[in-house]
């Protein structure tokens, strides 16, 4: 399945776009998404850390991703 992934902050710079399309297996999890993204964009691995949000909520590694979920890459936040 194809999933749209939103990117913010430095992740947007790494992807070269604020939204990329990623091809995932139908049983994809947050963990497998991270593996695919890091394969395609190795600079992600140089970040201090990054989280994945699914439908506006921080997601655990084992959480599954459905095709219509809103998925976002959350690099270290620095608001305030």
């Amino acid at each position: 399945m194809k999933v749209n992934v939103l990117a913010f902050g430095i992740a947007k710079d790494i992807f070269g776009s604020s939204c990329i399309e990623v091809e995932l297996s139908s049983a994809a999890t947050v963990e497998s998404l991270r593996a695919v993204l890091e394969e395609q964009h190795p600079r992600l691995k140089q970040l201090t850390s990054y989280m994945v949000a699914v439908n506006d909520e921080y997601a655990e590694a084992g959480e599954t991703i459905e095709q219509r979920d809103e998925v976002a890459i959350i690099p270290p936040v620095s608001g305030g």
């Binding site: 913010f8 902050g9 506006d56 608001g79 305030g80």
Partner: protein
């Protein structure tokens, strides 16, 4: 009561304070973040803030709700600005009103500390010779 706001427009500190004032509350604590002219000894020209707006509003609301649960506070306001900010401008205002001051201080401190850890907003610093997303790299 909770008031959460993310905006490209400049924040009105007096309006924030007016909103939290109430006859039941004797103590108001307000935290105002401002853009500093330097970071780690390097001169900062300006900042840019980007938000994952929908999620940021949700996370800000969660923090406000936690503050209302943890402390006897009446009103919690969290306003954050996005876009380009010059030195001296205000990216964030947090205001908390409570019957007694201890709760207002503790809740306000908790809110800014937690906001900086969990709310998906990113800050880019612009220097004479480059720019950097804060905290992105070790």
């Amino acid at each position: 009561m909770i008031d959460i706001h993310i905006s490209e427009d400049s924040l009105s500190i007096p309006a924030c304070i007016d909103w939290v004032m109430s006859p039941q509350c004797g103590g108001i604590d307000v935290f105002i973040g401002t853009v500093r002219n330097a970071t780690k000894g390097r001169q900062v020209l300006r900042l840019e803030f980007e938000a994952y707006q929908k999620m940021a509003l949700k996370e800000m609301r969660k923090i406000a709700e936690q503050a209302l649960e943890k402390w006897p506070v009446e009103k919690v306001l969290i306003h954050h600005r996005t876009g380009v900010l010059q030195v001296g401008e205000v990216p964030v205002v947090i205001a908390v009103a409570a019957a007694h001051r201890a709760a207002a201080f503790e809740a306000c401190r908790y809110i800014i500390d937690t906001l900086k850890q969990t709310v998906p907003i990113w800050k880019k610093e612009f220097f004479e010779d480059g720019e950097v997303w804060v905290a992105a790299h070790p």
